[in-house]
């Protein structure tokens, strides 16, 4: 799991997956990243979403459906809720979006992972979704297991899946409004009560209190209390 020793080597198996996808999708493949020996990511266009699933299943042997979810890249207007105060300012200046691995242009990014049980290689598939109530084709015809995951993504992020036979709430009560995992959905508990837990790092006996958040040098023994 330590990526340092193998970082320089090429990862043929994962590269082959990316190459097969590039071959199958053409322009549909936007970006890819392979961490040799660790993991692989590909980003496809939303239009190529189903085609990417089919190509992965049929051409790369990714028969195993692992999960499907989404990421909201627009940081919360309430900040990170770490230093939230009860009477603090409600909404702030929106922070800029900083997309992660393989980049991204839109607020919502679909994220799925499929796996090849024969070779033991998995790949993450991402797709940018345009708009505030995005739509994308359902993966159910490719991977039936995507059913519940898409229902979850629908209620948590407000992403609609075209062709989903039963797009109803999975976890939340039927009349629930809002999409809780969107970053702009406030976590009410943090809005009404300050969170004391953020500073709960206990000091060792004899330690100074200036061991602040920037001490990345690693001089402390790291929570090893006798």
């Amino acid at each position: 799991m330590d990526e340092a020793p193998v970082a320089v080597e090429a990862d043929e198996a994962r590269d082959a997956v990316v190459a097969a996808l590039a071959d199958a999708l053409g322009d549909g493949l936007v970006a890819s990243e392979v961490q040799p020996g660790v993991d692989a990511w590909v980003r496809v266009t939303a239009d190529a979403w189903v085609a990417a699933g089919e190509a992965l299943r049929d051409r790369c042997g990714m028969r195993y459906f692992n999960f499907l979810s989404a990421i909201d890249w627009q940081p919360s207007p309430y900040g990170r809720d770490m230093d939230a105060q009860v009477d603090g300012p409600e909404a702030r200046e929106p922070e800029p979006r900083e997309p992660g691995v393989t980049g991204g242009d839109t607020r919502f990014q679909l994220l799925a992972r499929v796996h090849n049980p024969d070779t033991g290689i998995g790949v993450h598939v991402k797709a940018d979704l345009v708009g505030d109530a995005p739509e994308v084709d359902s993966w159910i015809p490719v991977y039936p297991g995507a059913d519940w995951h898409e229902r979850e993504a629908w209620e948590m992020f407000g992403i609609s899946f075209r062709g989903h036979p039963n797009q109803v709430h999975l976890y939340l009560p039927g009349a629930f409004e809002g999409n809780p995992l969107r970053k702009d959905y406030p976590l009410l508990a943090r809005r009404i009560k300050p969170w004391p837990g953020i500073v709960d790092v206990e000091l060792m006996p004899g330690d100074d209190s200036d061991d602040d958040a920037d001490s990345s040098g690693g001089d402390a023994e790291g929570g090893d209390d006798e």
């Binding site: 799991m1 330590d2 990526e3 340092a4 660790v38 993991d39 028969r63 195993y64 459906f65 692992n66 999960f67 979810s69 990421i71 990170r80 809720d81 900083e98 992660g100 691995v101 994220l111 992972r113 049980p117 993450h124 159910i140 015809p141 991977y143 039936p144 297991g145 059913d147 519940w148 995951h149 948590m156 036979p165 039963n166 109803v168 709430h169 999975l170 976890y171 939340l172 009560p173 039927g174 995992l181 959905y185 976590l187 943090r190 969170w195 837990g197 953020i198 790092v201 061991d211 958040a213 001490s215 990345s216 040098g217 690693g218 402390a220 023994e221 790291g222 929570g223 090893d224 209390d225």
Partner: protein
């Protein structure tokens, strides 16, 4: 082979369920039966709405969310060390195993590695929590099929395993012992010898279950050929763990990928069964408990000396990036996809829990079975409600 029956049927079921009538309307074409959320067989609050024709299931639709705690949202406002407290509660029967993949993902982002001793102790605790978890299944399956005795044996012997976990971590159910970069503490004195004794008890328990349950003709009649899941279907639904190995897929993350634990250095075997039915799932789990005993034993023999904690900063900030780590947990594959922005708290945590995928196959597999088989299939798929609802 789509996930659900025809949509009209499903909306009909939903409509039937919505008005939640206690009383029957005896229609000749069938009736809707609520199995759960308060039902002895759902150990937790899973609800399965089944449409019956006589006792034959025409369509089944699980309803969950009765225990949804929103861990993915809560994890976004907790520091990395605090998240382990949350994820402990996902699969509460094998809690320690829940912490491991999260810690591994965070370690991968921070590019730290636990010292070898910590890895080996992690492996031992990981497999002990597998034993504590699956032993209960082995007994509980009997209860679901009407044999009350096995579960008492299971509770009796699980207690010894929990004692060992408690001796190390201080928590019977929620250890919260794993740390980024190692473990909170070292093993207590005398623990290794005591654990050997416990493993002997578990082996005896497995033999008892072999005689009392597996060898029982009625048990076989109730489980063989029931709830058959072909390998392809299982894979496309994302089944994992013993559920997919019982369908003949020889795939175990502990062996097939580098999870970051010590399994690769140990000598053990992955069990599969070609049938894919309820019996196969039970049988595979029974063998896995035995195999876990072997793994723990080898861990006890081979724990290297050294520190249990790597050098990590006191206040943990995880560098920006994305990482996914998965492990072969008692219930199946459990993974955490962490998106970090170089902060004290994770930006997004996607929890991929095993039971969620394992249960999502129920509409497919329950169709056309009888009510008693619904119970035996649900029991053999072995889910923990916290692992479905998160």
């Amino acid at each position: 082979m789509t996930a659900t029956a025809d949509p009209q049927q499903l909306s009909y079921i939903a409509a039937q369920a919505a008005d939640a009538r206690v009383n029957i309307e005896l229609e000749t074409e069938g009736m809707t039966l609520n199995i759960g959320p308060q039902h002895p067989a759902t150990h937790g609050t899973l609800r399965v709405i089944v449409r019956l024709d006589g006792e034959r299931v025409v369509a089944a639709e699980p309803v969950m969310g009765y225990m949804h705690r929103g861990y993915e949202k809560l994890a976004e406002v907790r520091t990395y060390p605090q998240v382990t407290t949350l994820v402990n509660r996902i699969d509460w029967l094998g809690s320690f195993a829940n912490e491991v993949p999260f810690i591994l993902a965070a370690e991968r982002l921070m590019e730290v590695e636990a010292p070898p001793r910590a890895k080996w102790i992690r492996t031992a605790l990981f497999e002990l929590s597998r034993i504590a978890n699956v032993v209960l299944f082995l007994g509980d399956m009997g209860v679901q099929l009407g044999a009350v005795t096995p579960v008492f044996f299971a509770f009796r012997d699980r207690e010894f395993v929990l004692n060992q976990i408690e001796a190390v971590t201080g928590g019977r159910f929620h250890p919260n012992f794993d740390r980024i970069g190692g473990l909170k503490d070292d093993l207590p004195k005398g623990w290794i010898e005591e654990t050997r004794g416990v493993l002997g008890r578990i082996r005896t328990f497995c033999d008892e279950m072999e005689d009392l349950v597996v060898g029982n003709e009625i048990f076989q009649a109730r489980t063989r050929g029931i709830g058959v899941i072909p390998a392809d279907v299982g894979l496309s639904y994302g089944l994992s763990g013993a559920n997919i190995r019982a369908s003949g897929v020889d795939w175990d993350l502990r062996r097939d990928s580098d999870m970051g634990l010590a399994h690769g250095e140990l000598d053990w075997k992955v069990w599969t069964h070609p049938d894919g039915d309820s019996f196969a799932r039970y049988w595979v789990r029974l063998q896995e408990v035995r195999e876990a005993c072997t793994i723990v034993e080898q861990c006890l023999d081979g724990i290297p000396s050294g520190p249990v904690m790597a050098k990590v900063p006191r206040i943990i900030k995880v560098p920006a990036g994305e990482a996914y780590a998965e492990t072969e947990n008692p219930l199946g594959v459990m993974g955490y996809y962490i998106v970090s922005k170089g902060d004290l708290v994770p930006y997004r945590v996607k929890i991929r829990s095993a039971s969620f995928n394992n249960v999502s196959i129920t509409p497919w597999v329950l169709e056309g079975t009888y009510v008693p088989d619904v119970i035996s299939i649900l029991a053999s798929l072995y889910f923990i409600l916290g692992d479905i609802d998160r």
